[in-house]
């Protein structure tokens, strides 16, 4: 069974996860072979798809769980948390 790494992050970005942070997430996610999901308030998004990430509608302060599995899962999860915790305007 493939181990899933779970990390939590709180959205720091003042305007939430709109298109620009979504782009940053996807740009980073596609560099990893790991499967990366973002869970927020019962919704699940594929971190490789901007449209999927934007459907989270994650606002400032929202709590997101990063679920990563497969190759480099740990590094992928850490990178996602780093981006989610950055205020990119």
């Amino acid at each position: 069974m493939v181990e899933t790494i779970v990390r939590k992050a709180k959205v720091v970005n003042t305007h939430g996860i709109h298109a620009r942070p979504s782009h940053a997430i996807v740009s980073a996610a596609i560099d990893f072979e790991a499967t990366i999901e973002l869970h927020c308030d019962g919704r699940v998004a594929d971190a490789r798809s901007i449209l999927s990430v934007m459907t989270l509608g994650a606002a400032h302060g929202a709590e997101i769980e990063v679920h990563a599995s497969g190759p480099q899962a740990e590094q992928a999860a850490v990178k996602m948390v780093e981006i989610l915790c950055a205020d990119q305007g």
Binding site: A19, H23, V26, I50, M54, G57, A59
Partner: protein, 153 residues
């Protein structure tokens, strides 16, 4: 707010006859300006903002682009849907050509509602049939009906 109400037949460009994404944005800005007098004098500013915004990171994905900016001094959200049958290079991260554009201009205030609108549009856009149905539409109302159907799905 019922987001479908933002769309009317005047907000749909069924068949963009352009060959690059900047021209597509320009056509959508022209349409927005003809729908909303508050934007008529600010077309150049709006187009430049949209192009600059996309240069920071493409909003294209899975055949859909969602170029959007905020603009000081306006009070209402403006939207235009632009459809390009063959698809245009919009520097999408997934490498897809963009066939359907949702162009959104919003006031400086109302970030929360804007996030809600983008989430709503993205939910419709990632439906597997959205792009293929959109490019087959012969009338603007068919596109609006599609939004209503997929929003309810």
């Amino acid at each position: 707010m019922n987001y479908v109400d933002l769309f009317s037949e005047q907000t749909v460009l069924l068949d963009l006859q352009v060959s690059d994404s900047d021209s597509a944005l320009s056509a959508m800005v022209d349409q927005m300006a003809s729908n909303n007098p508050a934007l008529a004098e600010r077309k150049d500013e709006l187009l430049a903002a949209l192009i600059a915004r996309e240069a920071q990171g493409s909003t294209g994905d899975a055949g859909v682009g969602m170029p959007h900016v905020k603009l000081a001094g306006i009070t209402d959200v403006s939207v235009v849907i632009g459809i390009h049958k063959e698809g245009l290079d919009f520097a999408a991260l997934d490498g897809s050509l963009v066939q359907v554009f949702f162009c959104v201009v919003r006031p400086e205030e109302g970030a929360e509602e804007h996030l809600g609108l983008l989430r709503w549009l993205a939910g419709i856009a990632k439906h597997e049939d959205f792009v293929s149905f959109s490019v087959q539409a012969n009338e603007a109302q068919q596109v609006i009906d599609l939004l209503s159907e997929l929003a309810a799905a």
